[in-house]
């Protein structure tokens, strides 16, 4: 493994929020004694390292702490405790040097000026990255070319598609040729084709030698792009390994995917209690009483007849059934008991 370029040790971010006590009356709520401090731990003692040239993914549901982690690494947010270094520079004490060594894409299409052209946006940020003017011009043209934006470079960004705006946002991160790229949910909001094109670009960045930390809640994206993945839930990394190794940890479990008509949520307890069922997730499909069930089990052969009998006894009707290979989402479900989308 190459030497680490990002090192995170016991990183924590805690927020303190003043709220009103539940028992406070309408008038009393304005008094100091009616206030209490709530503590929210967004990132809870996480540690990881990222090797030079690696694509590392933080995969988890919304609110897991992925964006908070990235914000601390790119110096937008101060950690509460713990340390982190990027290219050898501490994110708190050497913030300016950290910013010189990374390009970050945080809010995608909203992070650029819509009343400027694509070229004007890149020229602006090239200056903010202290690129000498001649170098800036050359880099702007090169980035426009790489991101297939040259033809419309001199149109206002407000007329671009979402995919083009996202590419301009990524382009500004590439201008100074930073060794590290931080991409926060880079394909969110994009149509499938644009998202696919962007993933190809990310792989191209890796081939160029960039180290990439990306956050996503799309497990297919993490599976396709990442050399290693940290699965994040409630501020903690609950698993960290290559996609193959992560899926292998639950290889012993089959996933029975069942579509049931007339399903009632009250059946969950009985189904979970069936022998060898590790976890059960349910999702309603449409409004016609059809639900999709995913049961993680170590013994699908013996579970199947019991499952059919249990559902049939409750007047349910199985209209589709398959045994699946585990995905990263199944890994997440096995670890947390809930879906990535919850």
């Amino acid at each position: 493994m190459n030497d680490p370029i990002i090192e995170v040790h016991d990183l924590t971010k805690t927020y303190h929020k003043k709220t009103v006590k539940d028992e406070a009356g309408f008038w009393a709520r304005w008094l100091p004694m009616a206030r209490q401090t709530e503590t929210l731990t967004a990132v809870d003692h996480i540690s990881f390292t990222i090797a030079r040239g690696e694509i590392f993914g933080l995969l988890g549901p919304n609110g897991a702490g992925k964006t908070t982690t990235i914000k601390m690494l790119c110096t937008l947010l101060e950690p509460t405790t713990g340390t982190a270094t990027v290219a050898g520079y501490d994110v708190v004490r050497q913030a300016a040097q950290v910013r010189q060594n990374l390009g970050a894409v945080m809010t995608g299409e909203r992070s650029i000026y819509w009343k400027l052209t694509g070229r004007e946006n890149l020229a602006y940020f090239a200056a903010l990255y202290h690129l000498p003017p001649a170098v800036a011009r050359q880099r702007v043209n090169a980035v426009l070319e790489q991101l297939d934006l040259t033809k419309r470079a001199d149109e206002l960004v407000e007329r671009y598609s979402s995919g083009m705006k996202q590419r301009v946002a990524i382009g500004k991160a590439l201008l100074a040729k930073p060794p590290v790229l931080l991409l926060d949910e880079p394909t969110i909001g994009l149509d499938p084709q644009s998202a696919r094109n962007l993933r190809e670009l990310i792989l191209e960045f890796k081939r160029e030698g960039h180290t990439i930390l990306l956050t996503t809640h799309y497990m297919e994206e993490a599976d396709q792009l990442c050399d290693r993945i940290g699965i994040v839930d409630q501020g903690r990394i609950i698993a960290l390994d290559t996609p193959t190794a992560l899926k292998a940890t639950i290889n012993r479990l089959d996933v029975l995917q069942v579509e049931v008509e007339n399903f009632e949520p009250s059946w969950r307890g009985d189904l979970t209690a069936l022998p060898t069922v590790e976890t059960l997730t349910t999702e309603q499909l449409g409004h016609d009483g059809v639900w999709s069930l995913a049961l993680h089990t170590g013994d699908s052969r013996n579970l199947l007849p019991q499952l059919i009998q249990t559902i049939g006894a409750r007047q349910g009707r199985i209209r589709h059934l398959q045994v699946k290979q585990p995905t990263l989402e199944d890994v997440f479900i096995a670890l947390t008991g809930k879906q990535l989308r919850e």
Binding site: I112, F125, Y129, L131
Partner: protein, 286 residues
């Protein structure tokens, strides 16, 4: 790898950043052409209410005018009102634009992407302020021309060098206040209330449309702590009474004091709120 750093940070490149930020603000400003109409029409409309009120209160044959002249030092009530409200409007625009700049960047979503760049953070306020200063001076120039043409008020009738000196001294104060606002907005994510509050204070306490002598003593004391008071007072003296350097020296000294003190206060507040924003994560909130 293909990631050899090509950044060359220097004083020259930091100055280039200021220029680029100013240029960016100009490009965005000129792509909203409605501003131009506002800058042309607003100076004409703004003082009319006060002028007609004064005309009504001056009574038949303007018989109350000597009483006004005794308090104001001039019977040219149109000029008195126009000058006061023009300076007030100019400062109002400046406060609004500077005070809201960071908030606008925050709401656009571009504040974080600027913050991520390895550049002096204060440039984010200082650079765009250059454009806002230029556009506000355009407003002032248009207003001066319109008042001369339509109201017969020659704001540059007196010593134009002194007029410019007053402007040069009041600009740092106003930008200092604006920068303080802009910083607080990052912390509290609400700018309108604060700007309205300060606008109201300036309107009432600085004698923008009436002589300070009509205010109660305690309000006159408050007025002595506002830089705008001295700016309006001295420009009126220059334009309406032909005052020279010695007559406005005391006002200039106070403006110089505020010119030193306010920008420092603004910068310190900016550093404080920037640190707070990094602790609380409010940079990206809108």
């Amino acid at each position: 790898m293909g990631s050899d750093l090509i950044i060359q940070r220097s004083l020259r490149s930091e100055l280039r950043v200021l220029w680029v930020m100013a240029h960016k603000e100009w490009l965005i400003f000129r792509r909203y052409p409605a501003w131009v109409m506002g800058y042309i029409i607003w100076p004409l409309i703004f003082p009319l209410g006060a002028i007609f009120t004064a005309r009504a209160l001056s009574g038949p044959d303007a018989r109350a005018l000597p009483a006004f002249a005794a308090l104001a030092g001039t019977d040219n009530y149109v000029g008195f009102i126009v000058i006061g409200l023009t300076v007030y409007a100019w400062i109002n625009i400046t406060l609004w634009e500077v005070g809201f700049h960071l908030r606008n960047e925050q709401m656009r979503g571009t504040l974080e992407s600027n913050w991520l760049c390895p550049t002096w953070r204060f440039s984010l306020l200082l650079g765009p302020s250059l454009t806002k200063l230029a556009t506000s001076l355009c407003f002032l120039s248009l207003a001066i021309a319109e008042y001369h043409l339509f109201f017969g008020v020659p704001m540059l009738a007196g010593n134009p060098t002194l007029f410019l000196l007053v402007l040069l001294l009041v600009i740092p104060s106003i930008y200092g206040i604006g920068i303080a606002f802009g910083s607080l907005v990052i912390r509290f994510q609400e700018a309108h209330t604060m700007v309205f509050l300060v606008r109201g204070i300036f309107m009432v306490f600085t004698g923008a449309s009436y002589p300070l002598a009509v205010l109660p003593d305690w309000m006159q004391t408050v007025a002595t702590w506002l830089p705008l008071t001295y700016a309006i007072q001295s420009i009126r003296a220059i334009s309406l009474q032909g005052a020279g350097l010695s007559e406005i020296a005391a006002d200039l000294r106070m403006l110089a004091f505020f010119a030193l003190f306010m920008p420092v206060l603004g910068y310190l507040l900016f550093r404080f709120t920037e640190r707070q924003a990094r602790r609380t994560g409010t940079l990206g909130h809108y």
